[in-house]
């Protein structure tokens, strides 16, 4: 556990150094937030009654997406891991006294948290004081807020679990760029990052419910605004836990198979 913690801290420090990138990210996220909100406002102007989510809830949803983007986007690559796998230098990692799965998992977790901290720390105070229709609302109750935090963290565990699968797939495909791009595009769409899940057609929402992606973003954000009530949210957290367990177990199993394969092939 000490080893994981130190990897985590190192990543965090590294992430902190990219300050211009952080500034740029803040500007980009604010801009995108505004554009999306204005588009939704335009759609809602004459058609609010066909919506299944209120505009204020949708605005909150949009800001949370932007603020926590680094936590949830799948389009986030650690080239070091890809390099290790493709060059066959994975052997060095095998020499470390801790499991590779846990090691990489901690590393990815650290990267995302570091990146996200640089975003939400400055963004939160800004969006909380924006003029009225654009402002990020508060959760309806302390319970909703507590469940949101829990759901967000579990969502992060799911995201990292999914990205681990992407990295592991490189053992077979040997070419990271193409396949990760495809998975990222699909995953982010199903997570409600392109169109919010409540605005999707019914049949698509049903399909999305059976995939892990919406539990990383759509679910915590609607728990925050109270669009998903507390009782339902608690049940959702249980589903999240299930996904974490499945993804980690499957990932660890797949990795051990992949490693056995590499060792047999002689790297």
């Amino acid at each position: 556990m000490r080893a994981y913690a130190s990897v985590w801290r190192l990543r965090f420090q590294l992430g902190m150094q990219y300050r211009t990138a952080a500034f740029a990210g803040i500007a980009t996220q604010l801009f995108f937030g505004f554009v999306f909100i204005m588009v939704y406002m335009a759609f809602y102007a004459n058609g609010a009654k066909s919506a299944t989510i209120d505009l204020p809830d949708l605005i909150t949803y949009t800001w949370l997406q932007q603020i926590f983007l680094t936590l949830i986007m799948l389009w986030y690559r650690d080239n070091e891991i890809f390099g290790l796998i493709m060059s066959g230098n994975i052997a060095y990692e095998l020499c470390r006294p801790c499991g590779i799965y846990g090691f990489w998992y901690a590393k990815l977790l650290g990267q995302r948290l570091a990146g996200a901290t640089l975003r939400y720390l400055p963004l939160l105070p800004i969006v909380l004081v924006l003029p009225k229709p654009y402002r990020l609302g508060f959760p309806p109750s302390a319970a909703s807020f507590a469940l949101f935090l829990l759901a967000l963290i579990l969502g992060l565990f799911i995201v990292v679990g999914v990205s681990m699968l992407i990295y592991i797939s490189v053992f077979w495909t040997l070419s990271p760029v193409g396949s990760t791009l495809m998975i990222a595009v699909a995953g982010e769409f199903f997570a409600g990052m392109v169109i919010p899940v409540p605005l999707m057609p019914g049949w698509l929402q049903n399909a999305v419910n059976f995939l892990p992606f919406r539990w990383t973003a759509d679910f915590p954000f609607r728990v925050y605004s109270g669009h998903i009530p507390v009782r339902e949210a608690a049940a959702g957290v249980a589903v999240q836990l299930g996904w974490v367990a499945i993804l980690v177990a499957f990932g660890a199993w797949l990795l051990s198979r992949a490693l056995r394969r590499t060792v047999i092939q002689g790297g």
């Binding site: 740029a24 500007a27 505004f34 919506a51 791009l181 595009v185 169109i195």
Partner: protein, 263 residues
Amino acid sequence: MSGFRLYFSYLSMLFRSQMQYRASFLLLTAGQFFIPFAVFASLYFLFERFGQLQGWSFYEVALIFAVIHLAFSIAECFARGFDMFSSLVVSGDFDRLLVRPRSTIVQVLGSQFEFTRFGRLLQGAIVLAVALINLPIAWNAAKIATLVLMIACGVCIFAGIFVLFATMCFWTVQGLEVANVFTDGGREMAQYPLDIYKRWVTVFFTFVIPFGCVNYLPMLFLLDRADGPAAAYMAMPLAGVLFLVPCVLVWRLGVRHYRSTGS
């Protein structure tokens, strides 16, 4: 003229290089097709739910969407060297360009070309075709010329932004990702008619970065919604060319700065 010839020599070199990695090339091209496809699907779902957008129909917005996405993907193909310019400065390879007897602009343009962006281009072309088939526009030479001009000048705007932010690398080295606000953000914003936004957005993207001039305003002419002289609406896209000129001048300034500081 010989600059063009050289540029095509660069292109053929880059094409042969990228073809060395065929599988990855095909997957990336497919991925580039699906990124805007997901966005377009959302657009469709939103219209399916809400019916219309402040008086704009789905196919009208699809036309706007297609124009801006085509312009963006063409610019990303051609001006990719400027988009990726920070790596050229960081690696020191820009020095190499300076010891060659050619303009830096042609050499930077020739340093990168993303053939995988043809996936994005194809997607834009399909959306354009769908929109054109379904819109009751009475086509004539003037309207066709306007449509071509809209896309061409849209390319100029995106290219101008790439050049402008590449120039910043001479001062910051790392490259400014704020550029994304204007390229990705501009594209995202300009895929809807400009009049749905608040006034400050409309003003900024008409008079500072003239996305509105290559998209929304001439579109009114295509759809016969314009009130005023048609020629004015047709000539609107030329604002994109006007935008590119100062960007290139700033680039010259940047190269001069680089040669006096060496970064």
